[in-house]
Amino acid sequence: MLNYIMGLAMTETINEFTTEFHQMHVDAGAKMVLFAGYDMPVSYPLGVKKEHIHTREKAGLFDVSHMGQVKLIGKNAKKALESLVPVDIVDLALMKQRYALFTNENGGVLDDLMVTNIGNDSLMLVVNAGCKQADFAHLQNTIGNECEVKVLEDYALLALQGPQAGKVLAALAPESCEMTFMTAKFLIIDGIECLVTRSGYSGEDGFEISVHNNQAQQLAKCFLANEAVEWIGLGARDSLRLEAGLSLYGHELDTEHSPVESSLVWALSKARRPDGARAGGYPGADVIMDHIENGVSQKIVGLQPEGRAPVRDGVLIVDEQDNNVGKVTSGGFGPTTGKPIVIARIQTEISDGTKKLFAIVRDKKIAVEVVKLPFVKQNYYRG
């Protein structure tokens, strides 16, 4: 039994990075695992299920300092970044945030990221932990001559997520009330200077807070002093985003599939699409624009399996005649829905839900139904 235990044991011998909150996690009794080179909390004594539900009902605090934070500085920074993403950055208004994707020459996705216009000719980027070294090099190599690429090594990142996140932050920084989803503000919280965005990865209202390492622990303690707030680990972070239907790099997104094939057309700004004001002009634009105009043979959908057995990543999806029609990109159990939930990449032609589909789990066929994402309604604060 217990391949899981073996997995945990294996992590002990590997050289790893830690975040500024590492000791706090250990003191809180967290189960630590190696994730993207960092020794990170996968869960706390509450456990994944209760941490997940706590975030949906109250407020969860996540250490996401392993993610990469990088500033692009200079008059040409916006234009330079636009040459790497199929997203409108030039017209990104002051203190607004936008979701973007680094693409490659084949139209595949190198990483997904958040971009915030923080003024003074500066953009703040948050990229995935597992991709960050490659992203930093990519930025330096491609646009390093057009703007300064400044990696913020000394900054921590916290996410405060959940229906009570707004109330928790407002008690510490009342002006945070004015913020709506995907906007940013520099706030002083308990005397600490922070860059706060109203965003996150749980499907709930919430914030991501960038803070200098020197004051990071003080800030975390400030949030945790509110009884509505609990530390939440990476286990629940994953089940929360899965229920919210949010893509995860390496699962729904990779270098082999274009954003169109990953059902992220909504993320491609009008200005950069075939008829847009600044159409194309990013790596792989010819492929991606062709995919937008002519459609693609596969897409990302939600699947609801019958019964209780979780259907995990990599499981094959077949039709009644056992033809292979897709593959699970993320699968697990949804603590809020109380059922297994699945995101899969399947053939577009069978994605309308009229054909009977099955997941092959341990040689058994489990019926699955194509459903609309997300599994749990997103509760963003739009004002």
Binding site: M1, L2, Y4, K50, G235, P310, R312, G332, P335, R362
Partner: protein
């Protein structure tokens, strides 16, 4: 009443001459986290020591229950089908997995007693 333990973190309780009840230990339960699904073997299955006889799914991962002894499955804990959390909440009581009729009682001698297991799981 003898309880023995496997290196795979299972307990085996000898209830009659050749009948045992099998489940996972408290240590295993803690490591696995919240259990959401358990696939049990069929009554009547003949299993050999080392066979995968059950699948245990937590919120995050799937693990196998490996038969700590050989024999025939004579009863399974049907309650785990709808309440897998029983194996988290009461792994050594109501969260038992299967009852087996041993084909070779001497296999029990190869398993650990409680003090040996405690030392084993602390390592």
């Amino acid at each position: 009443m003898t309880i023995k333990y496997s290196e795979d973190h299972e307990w085996v309780e000898l209830t009659e001459d050749d009948l045992v009840t099998i489940g996972i230990t408290e240590f295993a339960q803690e490591q696995l986290g919240d259990l959401v699904f358990i696939e049990l073997p069929e009554v009547g299955d003949d299993v050999s020591q080392g066979d995968n006889i059950s699948v245990i799914e937590s919120v995050k991962a799937a693990s196998d229950l490996i038969a700590p002894v050989s024999g025939e499955v004579v009863e399974v804990n049907e309650r785990l089908n709808d309440e897998p959390e029983l194996a988290s909440e009461d792994p050594t009581g109501e969260g038992w997995f299967v009852k087996m009729k041993l084909s070779d009682v001497s296999e029990l001698d190869g398993l650990m007693d409680e003090s040996a297991y405690q030392k084993f799981s602390e390592e």
